[in-house]
């Protein structure tokens, strides 16, 4: 079950996309999600589609990964698309039954929405697959830095984030282990009615919480013993550097925005 989770997975590689500055990648991914909403006709969606495919191609990662990223959300996507298809009026009406209509605009809108979902998921999957979680945490820290002016605890948030990311796989392993141990003691996970299923989670959750508390205590002690006194006044080991290729990608995204604005209806 856990093994199929793609969220937060990083695939090591050495492609152009892998080597981009994580701050740049993070901001561009958000920017990309923004400009997807500029697209409003066939041509603009086609441009975005090929742009995304090109980015995926540059990352040297198999297409299968991206499709698997879409899979968990497929019901949400289908639901939204169907709502669009059956409740949009306009253009030629092919079929209608009460408030439900199947119209030309509805179908077109449905396809656009579908494209939008897929493109956004592809781009965010690309970000997480090509960026190690710790770089991502560094990037978030760097981006949040200006907020220090308003006394936002940037270092603390960044620290929590990187610790959390570091412990996701460890906690997953732990979950798997405790699940197996309880299964060996006769617990059936995911069987029986809703009430029985909820009860079967207790022998999993309590040990997980307890071990998280213990782990937090050990980690805090170990950090203090190594001289951690808070974020203020620390130097950095991993230093992010902006390089020429980062500037180039920003220019490419600028160009893409120009093309979209020019092509949109």
């Amino acid at each position: 079950m856990m093994n199929k989770l793609l969220l937060g997975r990083f695939i090591p590689g050495d492609s152009l996309i892998h080597r981009l500055d994580p701050r740049n990648k993070l901001l561009l991914s958000f920017y990309y999600i923004g400009i997807i909403f500029l697209a409003n006709n066939w041509l603009t969606y086609l441009v975005l589609f090929f742009f995304t495919l090109f980015a995926v191609y540059l990352s040297n990662i198999k297409m299968g990964f991206f499709i698997r990223g879409v899979r968990p959300l497929i019901w949400l996507i289908l639901f939204t698309v169907l709502l669009q298809v059956f409740f949009t009026r306009g253009g030629t009406t092919y079929w209608s039954w009460g408030p439900i209509v199947l119209s030309q605009f509805g179908i077109v809108n449905g396809i656009y929405i579908f494209m939008r979902f897929v493109l956004i998921i592809f781009m965010s999957t690309l970000l997480t697959l090509t960026t190690p979680p710790l770089s991502l945490a560094d990037a978030i820290e760097a981006i949040l830095k200006p907020l220090r002016v308003v006394h936002f605890p940037v270092y603390e948030v960044a620290l929590m984030l990187s610790i959390a990311l570091r412990f996701v796989p460890t906690l997953m392993d732990e979950t798997e282990k405790i699940m197996n141990a309880q299964r060996a003691r006769g617990v059936d996970f995911g069987e029986g009615n809703l009430f029985q299923q909820m009860r079967s989670v207790v022998p999993l959750l309590i040990p997980l919480f307890v071990s998280s508390f213990n782990r937090a205590e050990d980690l805090a002690t170990a950090m203090e013993a190594r001289g951690y006194q808070g974020g203020e006044g620390r130097s950095k080991y991993r230093i992010l550097t902006w390089q020429a290729r980062d500037t180039w990608t920003v220019l490419v995204f600028g160009l893409l925005t120009g093309v979209l604005v020019w092509l949109r209806a």
Binding site: N3, E174, A181, Q182, A184, G186, V187
Partner: protein
């Protein structure tokens, strides 16, 4: 209840780019009432192998026969409960599986999952606590108040309470002090002898293998490298050391004595065996001198 592996292979995350093969070509029989020790380097597939013994993992190819049940890649995950009752499994650091309010409830949890009445299970819990050598007044305490060694024994009691025929222990003494280690191993030995439990033990301590096991399986990179009685397996000191496994200290010492001219029909595994083999070889005066002291 014999457990037989036939051409078993297991692959983690099969069908994904993260797949890794943990076991291949495993052919192995664990006989009823035997005490099997599984040794091998870290990551050699020991833990993966034992999780097949109670069908927590199903082979990706091949067959595991547990008593009457055949487990194949197609076996359905349902109706495995009777099997899990017969094959009790103590995981590494089992103290992390405790969760109930009291020790008594936690020990009774397993048996009650297999349909035992609450009152019978409570009695069983008290019985098991004595069996693992803890005082009865701990029954009503919270498991989280206990020391590490006590928690581990409660966890083991929870598994024993299901009255398994086969007991699997994955490094039961890891992280314990010498006294705790001896107590736990002594308890396992007692269960093996008195209740005729089949025991499967994963361990890195060759002394435990020498002292308790009657059957050793050496694993290497997901395959079985050697199977035999401890006496046979530990004869080849160089072979084991090349695999970073080592031999019991006594055997190593005996091997060094052998290089200095002592003769052994077979390298001894325990201190008693070594003493018995050395005594006739020592010059008379030395022996009598020692007696005088």
């Amino acid at each position: 209840m014999d457990i037989t592996f036939k051409d078993v292979a297991y692959t983690y995350q099969a069908g994904t780019p993260f797949e890794s093969q943990a076991l291949h070509d495993i052919n192995l029989t664990i006989a009823e009432h035997s005490f099997t020790a599984i040794i091998g380097h870290t990551g050699s597939g020991k833990s993966t192998l034992v999780q097949h013994l109670n069908a927590l993992l199903k082979p990706t190819s091949g067959t595991v026969t547990i008593g009457e049940r055949k487990i194949t890649p197609e076996t359905n995950n349902k109706h495995l409960k009777p099997l899990r009752q017969k094959v009790g499994m103590v995981f590494q650091f089992p103290e992390s599986q405790l969760f109930e309010e009291t020790v008594a409830k936690d020990i009774a949890f397993g048996p009650m999952n297999f349909g035992m009445e609450a009152t019978v299970a409570a009695k069983k819990a008290a019985e098991m606590l004595t069996l693992v050598g803890l005082p009865a007044e701990l029954l009503e305490r919270s498991p989280f108040d206990l020391s590490g060694g006590q928690m581990r024994r409660v966890a083991i009691a929870g598994v024993l309470a299901m009255a398994p025929e086969v007991l699997i222990l994955d490094e039961p003494t890891a992280g314990l002090d010498p006294a705790g280690r001896r107590e736990i191993m002594g308890m396992v030995e007692r269960l093996h002898h008195e209740q005729h439990l089949t025991v499967v033990l994963i361990t890195h301590r060759m002394e435990d293998v020498a002292n308790y096991a009657d059957h050793v399986v050496v694993m290497e990179q997901g395959t079985i490298a050697k199977v035999g009685r401890p006496q046979e397996v530990f004869q080849d000191v160089a072979w084991l050391q090349a695999r970073q496994l080592g031999v019991p200290e006594t055997t190593e010492f005996a091997a060094r004595l052998q290089q200095r001219g002592f003769k052994f029909d077979q390298l001894p595994l325990t201190e008693a065996e070594l003493a018995a083999a050395l005594a006739p070889q020592l010059p008379r005066e030395v022996v009598s001198q020692q007696h005088d002291e």
